[in-house]
């Protein structure tokens, strides 16, 4: 190999000293900037935790840690128990997951197992379209169009039908005052379900796509029908990943603010009746922040901290499950 100029653009060859030359300044600055950017991510997360917590200390000192478990929320009388909102967050998120997961997994299966690439692509675009509709538009539509319609055509008849029936009546029967409300836990759950479906679907698709083709062929070669192959091969392989996707969807549903704020009814209540109004953590923060000050405001920020911690925990568990199931498949 000759010592052509092209292979030696910096003219360093033939100079022994040049081989030990330090890296030019520009390179080191570039690397430092990249590192700084990476560290910024960590810094932001830490700052989020620190800043919001420090702003909520006056609430903590007022209510103490038991504030999390008290239900009375009455800013006028300096009462800031947040259990109601915790309840609302959990209930609406759970409803959203129950409604969304079967649908999302079914669509993921449709896209990976049934449809060829040509047909799957436009459907993927449509699912992405679902994700592009802003949260506030879902809320607007939910409040003005869906809630009244649902109350008339679904909630009222169902509530009338199950009134007095043991478990169903408690869930779907009329609430306090004998009414069912359009804006309610259930409506919020439905709207949230629409919003988390794209993410659960796309994650499930990724997981299902990692099932090796050869395993699928093994099942088909035994004469299995497509559904038998899915049950026998796809599900066992991807259950860990799908559970992870579900948990991530749960995390999203818990943190989704605006849509929930518009359709949940915004009246704090702990009740099993899903067709009645409620409140959840992000909704109360966003609705009452403007008029708040002092301990009230600090309480709202405290709720924010709670929400932050909760979603981080759910996220960590979800990623842990996914990571473990992938490792088990590789190692086995």
């Amino acid at each position: 190999m000759g010592r052509s100029q092209r292979a030696d653009p910096a003219g360093l060859a033939g100079s022994a000293r040049a081989l030990t030359q330090q890296r030019p300044l520009g390179d080191r600055i570039f690397q430092a900037l990249a590192l700084a950017a990476g560290l910024l991510v960590l810094a932001i997360l830490v700052l989020i935790a620190v800043a919001t917590t420090s702003q909520s200390t006056s609430w903590f000192s007022h209510e103490g840690i038991t504030g999390i478990f008290t239900t009375t929320w009455d800013p006028a009388h300096n009462k800031f128990g947040v259990l109601t909102f915790l309840y609302g967050t959990v209930v609406t998120a759970v409803i959203a997951v129950i409604l969304s997961v079967p649908v999302s997994v079914a669509i993921a299966l449709l896209l990976t197992e049934v449809l060829s690439y040509r047909w799957a692509r436009p459907i993927v675009y449509v699912i992405d379209l679902l994700a592009v509709v802003p949260s506030v538009v879902w809320g607007l539509w939910g409040l003005i169009v869906f809630a009244p319609w649902a109350q008339r055509t679904i909630y009222a008849p169902v509530a009338g039908a199950v009134k007095g029936v043991p478990i169903l009546g408690n869930l779907f029967g009329p609430g306090t005052g004998g009414v069912v409300s359009g804006p309610s836990f259930f409506t919020a759950g439905v709207i949230l379900a629409f919003m988390i479906t794209p993410i659960v679907t796309s994650l499930s698709r990724e997981v299902i796509a990692t099932v090796p083709v050869i395993d699928r062929e093994g099942a088909y070669a035994l004469g299995a029908t497509r559904w038998e192959m899915i049950r026998g091969v796809v599900f066992p392989h991807s259950q860990g990943g799908i559970v992870g996707a579900v948990l991530l969807g749960l995390g999203r549903a818990m943190g989704e603010t605006i849509a929930a704020a518009l359709v949940i009814g915004s009246i704090p209540a702990i009740t099993s009746h899903l067709f009645s109004t409620g409140y959840n953590m992000p909704a109360v923060i966003v609705n009452q922040f403007g008029e708040s000050s002092g301990v009230f405001r600090s309480a709202l920020l405290g709720i924010g901290v709670l929400l932050f911690v909760l979603t981080i925990i759910v996220n960590l568990i979800a990623r842990g499950i996914v990571a473990r199931s992938m490792a088990r498949q590789r190692g086995a």
Partner: protein, 298 residues
């Protein structure tokens, strides 16, 4: 006995176990139904937004100032909100994208398999799951309290939201660049920074751009981070992103949604349509960028 069945001379290859194939077909139908179940509300939402929004939108609507809620839809418009959304989203992109790309470069090109790299990557993933309202509360706590409401504060909050998305998608695109390209550049004596800047980045650029545009589409519709940072409620456009409260389409919709006045509601629908159109245009451009490059590289 099973043996007798399989060894028979006469072979019937038609569908002998009809229940099994029927079950498989029923499952397929259920999958299609699931898709339809999701499509119908989406179609309904889009239809409602288009029909109610289109009736509100006129030239004056798009350029007029925001009137009082009681005013009917024909009076005034949503121009201040449009200005706010465009300016704040643009500022947020300018802030978040360079940092995001640099962070992705660190993780993918410089990081190796060190513990720090894995922590950063993991934390960026965790950050995508942080609810947007938290970003708003965060910027409120460290910025707004000291410097007041402003478009900049909103851009910072949206930037925190956008940053992990950009890092994730940029990292994916960088990973797709084949190592042989890097090796060829090194073999010519280039330093790592030069390799990254002159070979890797250009190769991944279309994918990165598309990822950024998708993030922009998502972020432009966010409301919660803005509630705590730009205050909203302004009636005239504020072209100064750095000081003073500002407005945005998403905030306008949120503030008008619960209003009993049909004028305010009409403005909300008009704003919703405008917002969705902006997001759609961004999405379409993103897809065009990826498909154009895919076609070029064939």
């Amino acid at each position: 006995m099973a043996t007798a069945v399989t060894k028979q001379q006469q072979v019937d290859l038609r569908e002998p176990r009809s229940w099994r194939s029927a079950k498989s077909r029923i499952m397929t139908v259920l999958m299609v139904i699931a898709f339809v179940v999701v499509i119908i509300p989406l179609g309904f939402v889009l239809y409602t937004v288009v029909s109610k929004g289109a009736s509100a939108i006129t030239g004056r609507f798009l350029t007029g100032d925001i009137p009082f809620n009681v005013a009917p839809v024909t009076v005034g418009g949503i121009w201040p909100a449009i200005v706010g959304t465009l300016l704040i989203t643009a500022l947020c992109t300018v802030i978040a994208v360079p940092i995001g790309i640099l962070a992705a470069i660190y993780v993918n090109e410089y990081g190796g398999n060190r513990l720090l790299t894995r922590i950063i990557r993991f934390m960026a993933d965790v950050m995508t799951g942080v609810p947007s309202i938290i970003m708003g509360l965060f910027i409120f706590s460290i910025w707004v309290i000291h410097f007041g409401f402003s478009g900049l504060a909103g851009a910072l909050a949206l930037g925190c939201l956008m940053l992990p998305i950009v890092i994730r998608s940029t990292e994916e695109m960088l990973k797709l660049v084949p190592d042989v390209l890097r090796e060829a550049s090194y073999a010519l004596g280039a330093s790592k920074a030069r390799v990254t800047a002159t070979v890797v980045l250009p190769a991944a650029m279309s994918g990165i751009t598309s990822g950024v545009l998708l993030a922009v589409a998502r972020v432009s519709g966010e409301t919660a981070p803005l509630v705590f940072t730009i205050l909203g409620g302004t009636t005239t456009p504020n072209y100064n992103v750095f000081t003073g409260a500002n407005n945005a389409l998403s905030m306008l919709i949120f503030q008008n949604a619960e209003s009993p006045y049909t004028g305010a509601q009409g403005r909300a629908w008009g704003a919703a349509l405008t917002l969705i159109v902006i997001a759609l245009i961004t999405l379409v451009v993103a897809r065009l960028v990826t498909s154009r490059v895919a076609r070029l590289s064939q």
